[in-house]
Amino acid sequence: MRKGSKVSSNIIMTLVTVWLLIPLLATIIYSLFEDWTGIIPHGFTLANYQKIFTDTAFLTSMYQTLLVCVIPIVITILVVLLGLFVVTVYFPKLEKYMQILCMIPYTIQGVILSVSILILYAKGDTVLSGRMTMLIGAYCIIILPHIYNGIRNGMRAINMNMLLEAAEMLGESKLKAFFKVIVPNILTGITVSSLLAVGLLFGDYVIIRNLSSSNVNNMQKFLYQAMKRSSAEASAVFVVIMLITFAITAIVLTLQSRSTLEKIRNGGK
């Protein structure tokens, strides 16, 4: 009976996976063939890929996507880490307010956020009204709840105050102890939430369209423009975006599992 239910659950899993992968597969095939009007596609070609990879606009958009992804993530992680450190160690009573504050962005939609930011800052002449600053700021806001949750959950899993006190008794300052003793233990939480954040920011079209000037392009924006030109080319762009997302996920996951594996292996000998 158990075996039977295992088989059926495997079947369901496979079906679901196939269901999810079909659009992706179709897109890949579509981007690799000249003609797919019959059942069997024919005329294998890499021309679509050649075209986009020789297009400087595409390469720039790739580079800019990375930039506008990585910078907000790094900033947000640092801010949340320091904020949580100060709150947990010195002002534990403020913790619930910090939580509320960090959760608010969940309820804000991209259009509203970008429009409000434009209204508020675009007219000014300060550094805040720079297009890039506004974009990065908006991205920080969007990913804040995810980063906050990841780090907060990681901290809950360890007895942070006691570990800090233990380090303090050994002669360490609290802040240094935080980075040497607490952060390594919540690295998993941080990487997982960064992953989520990468996914979110990679998929953004609304905010970047509203906030960035025409010279800042992310891949979604490029994809949108490509769609107007040729659907085969757009498919190729789409496949590249997917592959990059997969690659980032794979890298982070292997990094994670390798570090745990290493720990166990070292300990075992």
């Binding site: 006691m162 233990a166 380090a167 008794m169 050994l170 360490e172 300052s173 003793v181 720990k263 070292n266």
Partner: protein, 337 residues
């Protein structure tokens, strides 16, 4: 001035007055125990000494220097916590070396000290394991090594053995005492287990509701409890009212209550020979409980007084329920409270 000197320490959390005018001295090289029931403020006093908690009022001196407002990391105090507090991301070697690295010692010296200390706590072969791979007792021994390897002026142990099973716990008590004496580290040990306090300490300070109820050597505390609370907490004292006791034994112990240790009461079937200072009364055995090496008989006397008496168990029960027996004890061992 003593090596560690607490002066009129008060600690108030909100409306909770946890430490009340504590005066306490600890001599250099001694192992001193803070003993008391849960919630009486033992950890709080320890944390005040460590600097992890600010005193509301009072002064703390260590080695002739006032340290009341010194930050924890500059006090030169090592601590082992009640819960496991090893750094999970570091192996045993790195955990123990943590404090030495902060002192910027040469690497070779750090390694040598770490290995030496792990040898003392008997965990040399675990040096590259991670805390999650160690048992609770092993983790606490690593924590002990980590605290001691920097040669702190004072070592604070806050119920380090409370999460460890009975047998290992007994071994570790003896181990800690041995290491403490070998290294001559002034140590304050917190526990709510009286046996543990008896086994380990040079001095015991009995805590009760934020005050020190009684201080003394283990023997003094055990044989001469000064208050009713002390007698309730330590040993297995009988605590009848003085009136009941005096009536049954035809004597005149002063005070409200009388404290009688069960092991000073001897039971015989024949009346013992009358002696100066020997209190004797006849009673009836009402029950007995086996404690393994001894049997505790409950004896009821005229006027409703009941006393427990311990008899070492050899190979048979000397008395049964309902037997008439004579209970005798030396008057100068009976304590009036």
């Amino acid at each position: 001035m003593a090596y560690i000197h607490f002066e009129k320490i008060n600690k108030i959390f909100g409306t909770n007055h946890v430490l009340k005018d504590i005066d306490l001295d600890v001599e250099k090289g001694q192992l001193v125990t803070l003993l008391g029931p849960s919630g009486c403020g033992k950890s709080t006093l320890l944390r005040c000494l460590a600097g992890l908690e600010q005193v509301t009022d009072g002064h703390i001196y260590l080695d002739g220097q006032e340290i009341t407002d010194v930050v924890p990391r500059r006090r030169g105090i090592g601590m082992v916590f009640q819960q496991y507090s090893l750094f999970p991301n570091m192996n045993v070697r790195d955990n123990v070396a943590y404090g030495l690295k902060l002192k910027k010692l040469p690497k070779a010296e750090i390694n040598q000290k770490v290995e030496q200390m792990l040898d003392i706590v008997g965990l040399s072969e675990k040096i590259s394991q991670y805390p999650a791979q160690l048992s609770g007792g092993q983790q606490q021994r690593v924590a002990l090594a980590r605290a001691m390897v920097t040669a702190p002026k004072v070592l604070l142990l806050d119920e380090p053995l409370s999460a460890i099973d009975a047998l290992l716990r007994k071994n570790l008590q003896i181990e800690i005492r041995r290491i403490q004496q070998q290294l001559g580290i002034t140590t304050i040990f917190v526990t709510h287990d009286q046996d543990e306090a008896m086994v380990m300490s040079d001095m015991i300070h009995l805590f009760h509701e934020g005050k020190i109820e009684q201080s003394g050597t283990p023997e003094q505390i055990y044989t001469r409890p000064a208050t009713k609370f002390a007698a309730t907490f330590i040993g297995n004292y009988n605590l009848p009212t003085a009136a009941d006791f005096n009536r049954a034994f035809h004597t005149d112990i002063p005070g409200q209550d009388v404290a009688v240790r069960p092991e000073i009461v001897t039971l015989t079937k024949q009346a013992p020979k009358a002696e100066d200072g020997l209190l004797v009364a006849e009673g009836t055995i009402t029950s007995h409980i086996s404690h393994g090496n001894l049997i505790r008989f409950a004896v009821e006397f005229e006027g409703g007084l009941t006393l427990n008496a311990d008899v070492v168990y050899e190979n048979k029960l000397d008395f049964g329920e309902g037997d008439r027996v004579f209970a005798a004890m030396k008057k100068d061992l009976v304590i009036g409270l």
